[in-house]
């Protein structure tokens, strides 16, 4: 008698758990710098997850997600500078509320439009925020930005703090685990959302808006909710990103940042759940090493994007799934 094989859902859960175990071991086997890089990658992966709820699952291409990343980031900076807050948990709460409110407001304007009109509106609104951050320098620090030193940040309600001159490696390790846990929670939450009746409704709207309407679905309402969730996830990513970066400037709100988030999804494959996660982490490495190798790093990334869109439109994960489906024996592939 053969042992029962796990179903597709169980197999995915096992694979996910294995990846989490490997991620858990990273600080033990990799140096501070590599751990820091991966932490950046994981925060960006949360942004990509949020972004892809709109692109991959609702069919709306936002070119303005820098607004929510920036909102989450500036929420931390404002709370630290003006309220003297140091607790990361309060930062997360503030980041969620601030970016959520912003997404709720911008969503009302944007979700009544689709395609290029939606994309342009999201871009325009994010640039309004960028301009405000740039011009209201007495609040935002202008181009100098606002410093958010890791030494002023505490984790787990103040239980973990990072005083002293040699605290950086300790901060990186602790913060990595902190971000990893938040990432795991976000990924699980997003998995639940896209597989919920709400998530299926979004996919229905993406596939066929007219038919969804004739099931009684109020399209705008669902798009707005998706926009809200998407912006909030991206804002959370911005909140986590700041202590790592140590500084918030208007650059985080500028349109190339939105372009990068689009890049994450395209690189990994926006028609898959894990694609944007892989895309964000991979892009982070690509960018860091391209910058180190050449001053023309943007050209290198541009070439990668052209190659991707031309030869691998399904992205890294999408292509991997297609290849593995082709390699499977016929019976297994069709089962």
């Amino acid at each position: 008698m053969s042992a029962a094989r796990p179903g597709p859902f169980g197999a995915r859960a096992i694979a996910g758990a294995a990846v989490l175990v490997i991620l858990f071991l990273v600080p033990a086997v990799a140096g501070t710098y590599q751990t820091q890089l991966l932490t950046y990658g994981l925060t960006l992966a949360i942004a990509a997850l949020g972004f892809n709820l709109l692109l991959g699952y609702t069919g709306l291409l936002s070119f303005g997600h820098s607004a929510y990343l920036g909102a989450g980031a500036y929420a931390v900076a404002f709370m630290m500078r003006y309220l003297g807050v140091s607790s990361m948990e309060l930062f997360l709460l503030g980041g969620i509320v601030f970016s959520g409110l912003l997404a709720a407001l911008f969503g009302i304007v944007c979700v009544r439009h689709t395609r290029i009109f939606f994309a342009i509106l999201t871009l325009a609104l994010s640039q309004v925020l960028w301009t405000l951050a740039y011009k209201f320098f007495w609040i935002t620090g202008g181009t100098d930005g606002i410093r958010v030193p890791f030494a002023n940040v505490t984790l787990l309600g103040g239980l973990v703090s990072f005083p002293g001159p040699d605290a950086f490696p300790r901060f990186v390790t602790h913060y990595y685990y902190y971000v990893l846990v938040v990432f795991a929670v976000c990924a699980a939450l997003m998995w639940l959302i896209v597989h919920s009746p709400f998530g299926k409704t979004l996919q229905a709207i993406r596939d066929n808006e007219t038919r969804a309407r004739f099931l009684g679905v109020r399209i705008w309402r669902y798009r707005w909710l998706a926009f809200l969730v998407s912006g909030t996830f991206t804002g959370l990513a911005g909140t986590l990103w700041v202590p790592l970066n140590g500084l918030v400037t208007p650059d985080v709100l500028y349109w190339p940042q939105s372009g990068k988030i689009v890049f994450f999804a395209v690189l990994g494959g926006f028609r898959t759940f894990f694609g944007p996660i892989v895309g964000a982490v991979t892009f982070n490495y690509l960018e860091v090493y391209a910058v180190a190798l050449t001053e023309y790093w943007q050209l290198a990334l541009g070439i990668v994007l052209i190659v991707l869109v031309t030869f691998l439109p399904a992205g890294i994960v999408g292509t991997a799934i297609r290849v593995s489906a082709r390699l499977k024996p016929r019976g297994e592939a069709s089962s």
């Binding site: 939450l189 639940l192 959302i193 597989h195 919920s196 009746p197 709400f198 998530g199 299926k200 409704t201 996919q203 229905a204 993406r206 596939d207 066929n208 007219t210 038919r211 969804a212 309407r213 004739f214 099931l215 009684g216 679905v217 109020r218 669902y222 909710l225 969730v229």
Partner: protein
């Protein structure tokens, strides 16, 4: 008893009178066919009743309730559902998900955000049962976009049927399929709809199908009603023979 009626329903597109002062009545429990040449106004009439379009003038009633300017979602709640002439499905979702979504929508569950859709046993069981009735029981996990045309037509009807409407409009459920598939589709649709005691209005061009399955036939011509009656009466109608069938009953 009249389930739906329209009074002087009118819709013009420029100089074209697509629907021209139509008084339409659908009785509870009947299987009615709406026929006419291309451009007769059949689909426009269904579009007006289902809120795909709004009329220039006239009224639409479900029972005694005026639904003329209600939006789509409220008309669905009033008991009106429809399928489409060109199959309208969620192609990247599974066959099961297509029907389950209609059930979630009917039950007001589409806003459930922190619950796995597939874990809703009642909805999944109902969707599987319904797909079985429509002969799609073996295709539940297939993507809707990958189905054959005849199966897509059936799924299109199944999705509308899953809303459990009082009145179901089917816009050319057999267009674009082979003669053999036509009979199979209409046998299935007729059996399920009659079994579910749902009133149905079918737009159809194939008069063999119309005469075989309908309780009543309404013929449209240039935005107006040309004839209304049981299939045998319509078959003998001189105007219908002239304008629609291209034959002469007197001969």
């Amino acid at each position: 008893m009249s389930l739906l009626r329209t009074e002087g329903l009118t819709k013009h597109f420029g100089d074209t009178r697509a629907v021209d002062g139509v008084d339409f009545r659908v009785n509870e429990g009947e299987f009615l066919s709406l026929v006419g040449t291309n451009g007769a106004g059949k689909t426009t009439l269904v579009n007006l009743i289902s809120a795909f379009l709004f009329p220039d003038s006239g009224k639409i009633f479900v029972g005694e309730r005026d639904i003329t300017y209600l939006p789509v979602d409220e008309r669905i709640r009033a008991g009106i559902a429809r399928s489409f002439q060109l199959v309208n499905l969620f192609d990247d979702l599974s066959v099961l998900d297509n029907v389950a979504l209609a059930i979630f929508a009917r039950e007001g569950k589409t806003r459930r955000i922190f619950a796995l859709a597939e874990r809703d046993v009642a909805v999944t069981a109902e969707a599987r049962d319904l797909l079985g009735q429509f002969g799609l029981g073996s295709k539940v996990q297939a993507l809707a976009g990958g189905l054959a045309q005849g199966e897509r037509k059936l799924l299109d009807v199944a999705v509308a049927y899953a809303l459990r409407p009082k009145l179901l409009f089917l816009d050319e459920p057999t267009s674009g399929v082979s003669t053999r598939d036509k009979a199979q589709i209409m046998d299935t649709v007729s059996a399920v709809v009659r079994g579910g005691k749902i009133t149905a209005v079918v737009i159809e061009h194939d008069m063999d199908v119309v005469f075989k399955y309908s309780d009543r036939v309404v013929v449209m011509h240039e935005g107006r009603f040309l004839a209304d009656g049981p299939p045998d009466e319509i078959r003998q109608n001189r105007d219908v023979a002239t304008y629609l069938l291209g034959t002469d009953v007197s001969g």
